[in-house]
């Protein structure tokens, strides 16, 4: 199966029909839900937190955040995905925005951030005037600033290869995060990778 990241930029790949297909697949729904629950478990938040959902898509993760009593603001680059979120009547506030352009919130806004299956898109430099490195550093610098002191982020992602994994983790550490990588079901086809980030601790890697 080819990776969507290799096919087209996310705003073009997730057009109306892909967005509906993605959201209505029960397999995707259940994987997405379980990964979001895992993110929340790793975040270990008090109830009623304010959470940023990066690459919120059609609000599949948001539904879980909602169930757990949190309030979320979601950003996504695909207008088609956000349109499906509107149809599904999600409770989070939605923003059409490119995480590679930064996180447009004032410092210390969020208790936490989650992201499911999105940040590997940052490694696709989409035009001649932007680089993957530039997009990664704008994203992680912005994320770091937007979280409160002691805030946390858990980002589940699908790196294409070792290089992407190193690039993404390295950019997070460079932004000032304490970072650790967690692998669930390693060396299987269900392998899931979570980047666990904290604000206000050292920059050492697990």
């Amino acid at each position: 199966m080819s990776r969507p990241e290799d096919t087209a930029p996310p705003d073009l790949f997730y057009d109306d029909s892909e967005a509906k297909k993605y959201t209505s697949s029960s397999r995707i729904q259940s994987i997405q839900a379980s990964m979001t629950r895992r993110c929340l478990e790793l975040l270990d938040l008090p109830n009623s937190s304010l959470i940023l959902d990066i690459g919120c898509g059609s609000g599949l993760s948001g539904e879980i955040l909602d169930e757990e009593g949190h309030t979320w603001i979601g950003m996504d680059i695909s207008a088609s995905m956000l349109a499906v979120a509107l149809d599904r009547d999600t409770t989070g506030d939605l923003l059409l925005a490119d995480m590679g352009q930064g996180i447009p919130f004032r410092p210390g806004t969020f208790d936490a951030a989650v992201s499911v299956s999105a940040v590997q898109w940052l490694c696709n430099a989409e035009s001649s005037d932007v680089t993957a490195q530039g997009r990664l550093s704008r994203f992680f610098d912005g994320l770091y600033m937007s979280l409160k002191r002691g805030g946390k982020a858990v980002l589940q992602f699908y790196p294409k290869n070792e290089l992407q994994r190193t690039m993404i983790t390295g950019a997070a550490v460079k932004a000032g995060f304490g970072a650790g990588l967690l692998e669930d079901d390693p060396e299987t086809k269900n392998q899931k990778l979570y980047l666990v980030l904290t604000v206000g601790s050292g920059g050492e890697l697990a």
Partner: protein, 124 residues
């Protein structure tokens, strides 16, 4: 876009990061809707310390809500204040219009409640 979000969002243009004129973004041609949502008291208490009160008063006034106290309520909030904040911050949404930056004048369009923060690359 919820009023809550407008108290946290900033202009995405690089040159505006350090400008005090860039926050809060100002509404133009705002069309409002109220959506009834379950009251979450703990949430209101959690976020209140992170609300920029003068900015909230300014945003609210620009949309016709003029009953907020001029200084942030401190200490134990009474039930009515929590309800009022819930109504304003969580239930009140701008469904269409623009958010405008007071520094660079960039206009962020709001369509079906979703603000478009995509920028040309040379501005970020």
């Amino acid at each position: 876009m919820k009023i809550l979000t407008t108290n946290y969002i900033t202009c995405a243009v690089k040159a505006c990061k350090t400008s005090s004129n860039a926050f809060p973004l100002q509404f133009r041609d705002a069309e409002l809707v109220q959506e009834e949502l379950e009251l979450n008291e703990e949430f209101i208490k959690n976020i209140l310390p992170r609300i920029e009160w003068p900015a909230l008063v300014q945003t609210a006034a620009s949309l016709g809500f003029t009953t907020l106290p001029s200084t942030k309520p401190e200490g134990d909030l009474d039930e009515q204040m929590i309800k009022d904040l819930h109504t304003l911050l969580v239930e009140t949404q701008v469904i269409s219009g623009k958010l405008v930056c007071g520094n660079c004048q960039h206009e962020y369009n709001i369509h079906q409640g979703i603000a478009n923060f995509l920028l040309p690359n040379h501005l970020v």
